[in-house]
């Protein structure tokens, strides 16, 4: 066999990335970041609220939504387990956060908010931050999907969430953190400031996009509860250990290297389950028992970061 000549050619083999979205950066040579109150770690908790339509067709999805329908129609097993999150689970998460005085950046599918205005109100009445999370979990865009369809979905989701929440909504989490080559440009067209899709660092990363910079922000890299609970099947003790170990590393290195961002994901249908909520609470209790924690939202954290750029 022989491969085409191009297989041994590397047109982007030069200093920096092999794309134009951002530059390489060594986290440990980043100018020291300081957070309000001289905090070492900005803590951002991200509850995730999703809508999985009963009639979504997994066979047609190139990138499948974890938690989506997979049994013959009507798949009540999956539909109702996910729906439990929006009716019950999410309020357990909110209660813990409220008790601990920790604000939330709530990533929510626009269609989930439309179907549960009460839920959205519970976010906005606390002045928590709404992060757009696409339309619903049946619409996952990727490198081979239609850019026009994606544009329509982004516009519709943002129009809906901005109107319903009364907030500017300038954060975007793509369903399944899946993007096309065009996503960042489309988001910048809609005045999106940041996306946890690009969780490549423990600080925000300024990325180039057509209509202005979009920042990649940290988001529970490899410790997302979708992974911890579903993929790794962690016990509650292991879940707490893992979060606390990760936090402590950042908290320790912040002393020498400047502020860090620590994030926790809390999917309503996972972390919101009765058998898991206490572990979420325990992890937060341990983290908050350390001095120098700034519980905040993505938006406020990014404001503080940008003011030091």
């Amino acid at each position: 066999m022989t491969l085409p000549r191009s297989y041994l050619e590397y047109p982007r083999r030069a200093p920096g990335m092999d794309h134009d979205r951002y530059d390489y950066r060594n986290l440990f040579r980043h100018k020291k970041v300081s957070w309000p109150g001289d905090a070492r770690v900005a803590l951002v908790v991200v509850p995730v609220v999703e809508f999985f339509p009963l009639n979504m067709n997994p066979a047609q999805m190139v990138v499948k939504a974890v938690g989506g329908m997979e049994r013959p129609y009507p798949d009540y097993w999956n539909y109702t387990t996910r729906d439990y999150g929006t009716r019950v689970g999410i309020y357990r998460i909110f209660k813990v956060l409220e008790q601990l005085g920790v604000p939330a950046s709530v990533a929510i599918n626009a269609r989930a908010a439309e179907r549960a205005p009460f839920l959205l109100k519970e976010v906005t009445r606390r002045n928590w931050e709404v992060v757009a999370h696409g339309l619903d979990m049946s619409q996952v865009f990727h490198g081979k999907s239609s850019v026009d369809d994606e544009r329509v979905a982004i516009e519709a989701a943002l129009a809906s969430l901005r109107k319903a929440s009364g907030q500017p909504v300038n954060g975007w989490l793509s369903p399944m953190q899946s993007e096309s080559h065009a996503t960042l440009d489309l988001l910048s067209d809609q005045r999106i400031r940041y996306t946890p899709d690009w969780n490549i660092d423990d600080l925000p990363v300024r990325m180039n996009a057509r209509s202005g910079a979009v920042y990649g922000v940290p988001f529970a890299l490899d410790v997302n509860d979708r992974q911890s609970v579903l993929d790794f099947n962690l016990s509650n003790d292991a879940y707490v250990e893992q979060l606390v170990d990760g936090f402590v590393t950042l908290w320790q290195e912040a002393e020498q290297y400047g502020g860090r961002v620590f994030t926790i994901s809390a999917n309503s249908w996972l972390t919101g389950q009765p058998n898991r909520i206490a572990a979420f609470r325990r992890a937060l209790d341990i983290i908050l028992s350390h001095p120098g924690i700034w519980p905040t939202t993505y938006g406020a954290m990014l404001d503080a970061y940008q003011s030091q750029e």
Binding site: M1, T2, L3, S6, Y7, L8, Y10, R12, R13, A14, P15, G16, M17, D18, H19, Y24, R25, N26, L27, F28, V62, V63, H142, G143, K144, S174, M176, Q177, S178, E179, S180, H181, D197, W198, N199, I200, D201, D202, G216, L221, D222, V223, D231, F232, N233, L234, A238, E241, Q242, L243, D245, G246, F247, V248, T249, L250, E253
Partner: protein, 300 residues
């Protein structure tokens, strides 16, 4: 296709010449960080899809990118703490994209060996000339970046052809990490006039297999490393062994795994009769002292 790789004869672990390590060590331990570059938009391969999702596979890419921005520096901090040098299984494209990382490796006296150009360019489907061109590219890039000769080889993403071993020997490579058949170095049967040995690597205590595939908790991963180490160290009293700890900055360098990585290195480095070596040092020692006697024993 052959029913076995035809690269080595059967040689049972309990009936072979005894080898030795410098200072009477029972176990040679080498740590092999895989420092990699995964392309944003990799070209198609005839046999293997480079990304789980269609490119740009953000989910897959961001974790790997994190390794080069944050993870690798944390990994170095922990290794420095215990005086452990790395033998870097290097996608040599890293020399071009992130020279800062390479400078830090060279400054620490770490060995650089080949893991291809990118981890999204496989050997599958290459003809001999193409494979030779790749090896020469790697050799020249490592020399340019570090002044080091190319001594070791782990195929990019462990992709091989049946010609790879012969071509490596021709190019002066001393050891390959692609064969997992033993806990000692052994001669590899090559057509070349040069000698090539297999170097114990590991898919058992590799952070990729343990953390990404088997999804171990950080605690369990360190228990696994300790168990592997204890057993090989015991056996090393009778016939010295090699233990490799293969790592990836985008796995072990994540904040939630640092504490356990620290514990693993602490455990290994406080033990006596351990030779903390690089791949090249082990290969050179083996070639100088053991390769030919083992070949003779095999012929006997």
């Amino acid at each position: 296709m052959n029913e076995d790789p035809q690269l080595y004869p059967y040689l049972p672990s309990i009936a072979r010449p005894r080898i030795s390590w410098p200072g009477g060590a029972r176990l040679a331990v080498w740590v092999a960080p895989n420092i990699e570059h995964y392309e944003y938009d990799p070209p198609p391969s005839p046999v293997r899809s480079p990304t789980p999702r269609p490119a740009p596979d953000i989910n897959w890419l961001t974790l790997r990118d994190y390794g080069n921005r944050a993870g690798v520096w944390r990994m170095m901090q922990v290794m420095d703490r215990y005086g452990v040098r790395g033998s870097v299984s290097l996608n040599v494209g890293v020399c071009d994209h992130y020279p800062e990382i390479i400078e830090a490796c060279v400054k620490r006296g770490w060995e650089l060996f080949s893991h291809g150009v990118y981890n999204t360019r496989y050997l599958y489907g290459m003809d001999t000339d193409q494979e030779r061109e790749l090896i020469e590219d790697v050799k020249a890039t490592i020399y340019r970046a570090s002044g080091q000769p190319l001594s070791g080889w782990l195929s990019p993403a462990l992709s091989n052809t049946v010609d790879t071993m012969d071509l490596l020997a021709d190019a002066g490579v001393l050891y390959t990490c692609d064969l997992m058949h033993d806990d000692q170095p052994l001669p590899v049967r090559v057509k070349s006039k040069n000698r090539l040995i297999s170097m114990p690597y590991s898919l058992e205590v590799n952070d990729y297999t343990c953390l990404a595939l088997k999804r171990m908790t950080p605690r369990r991963y360190t228990e696994t490393i300790k168990a592997q180490f204890d057993q090989l160290w015991e056996e090393g009293a009778e016939n010295p062994q090699v233990m490799c700890l293969p790592l990836h900055p985008w796995l072990i360098g994540l904040p939630h795994r640092l504490r356990e990585f620290d514990e693993a290195l602490r455990y290994i480095t406080r033990r006596d009769k351990v030779w903390l070596a690089t791949g090249r040092e082990i290969a050179q020692w083996y070639l100088a002292n053991h390769h030919d006697p083992v070949i003779s024993a095999l012929g006997a």
